[in-house]
Symmetry: C2
Subunit: 220 residues, 2 copies
């Protein structure tokens, strides 16, 4: 089989398109990691990647589509990494498993940011195909994590394992937002002793919560 | 003591100002309850209350300040209502308490919406005084709820009771957002059998999670 000029041209342009997409996603990730994704606009991303905004819109529908793609990438990275940690850990007690899960999320601050933003903002300004694609990724990762959790915690039901993953991801997202209120509000918290309690320590709180859940599930 | 004309004038205008504030908050609440607060703009609120947007800005700094005030109002309403339910209920088992808490939140969909929006969006576009005022309200309500929880669940520590309230409010907020993705996405979930699992049933999932937490806390 020979490659025609047209085939080559198509392959080259598909490759160039993919490279552009990767560059856009990388730029969005850098900006989001540096200052939280909330304030990153399409114009910021276009500037960072050296494109006009109108050109960028040939690759992605909206800023939300870009960040939803990053959320899916992070699920694909986090899921296997956590599964490996869980299977490698000798401590399968409620506290041990809870700590592994909580630490894996706390080590990924941008993923926590995205986890909170996805249902509120990201899933609401993209095409149905984008939502479908994103949901299928998360369902697959949740299902694979559920299997590992049930293997190391015999007796845990499918529903319980999914409740645990949902609580871990949703609470890490919500508490991360509370713990990262921007420098001015953080200053307020630290200066007013009545507000000292408002400072949320994400990882230990998530770990305590998941440990209690696993302990409680084991009673049924 | 006699009331001077100036005093009377001041009182009347303070009263008029308060009435306007109440009217603005009520209009924002109606709009938010009808379609989710995410899409409600200052212009929408001004129109609903029959004011110009510039006039409305003499009463509130931003749309976020309006919704943060509504969130504080809801904490003030929800806290005492839940405390009364908890004290009136004969079932102080983990499942009984969890069900009472989960049901009280599920019965307040707009509060769930606000609970998720507050740390992500509302607290970030208001003055420090507004954040301080809001935080003090929530800390007071959390502390009063913590006392009741510890009375009906002897052995529960302060930290555990706060972890429970934080999980209840944060998960109800996050799951409510997932369960209310807008009609188009909801249609997608129901039409694609692979996505059936993505439909979140808020109240039972929060109830199961809190029950497991209380059960687990009782083991320590």
């Amino acid at each position: 089989m020979t490659t025609t000029g047209a085939d080559f041209q198509r392959a080259r342009s598909a490759d160039a398109k993919l490279q552009r997409e990767v560059a856009i996603l990388d730029a969005a990730r850098r900006l989001g990691a540096a200052r939280g994704i909330r304030t990153v606009t399409l114009t910021d991303i276009a500037e960072a990647v050296g494109m006009h905004k109108s050109a960028l819109l040939r690759y992605f529908e909206t800023r939300e589509q870009i960040f939803l793609r990053l959320t899916a990438q992070d699920w694909r990275e986090w899921g296997p990494a956590l599964r490996a940690s869980l299977e490698a850990s000798a401590d399968t007690s409620p506290a041990g498993v809870a700590q592994t899960v909580a630490a894996s999320l706390a080590a990924r601050p941008m993923f926590c940011d995205l986890l909170a933003q996805a249902p509120l903002n990201l899933e609401r300004n993209v095409s149905l195909d984008s939502v479908r694609e994103f949901k299928l990724v998360t369902l697959e990762e949740v299902s694979a994590l559920s299997e590992v959790l049930r293997r190391i915690r015999p007796g845990l039901t499918v529903e319980q394992s999914i409740d645990l993953i949902a609580a871990a991801t949703s609470l890490s997202g919500a508490y991360w937002q509370m713990a990262t209120p921007g420098p001015a509000v953080e200053q307020l918290y630290r200066s007013d002793p009545r507000l000292a309690h408002a400072v949320v320590d994400v990882e230990p709180r998530v770990a305590r919560t998941l440990a209690a859940m696993l302990e409680g599930f084991a009673r049924h």
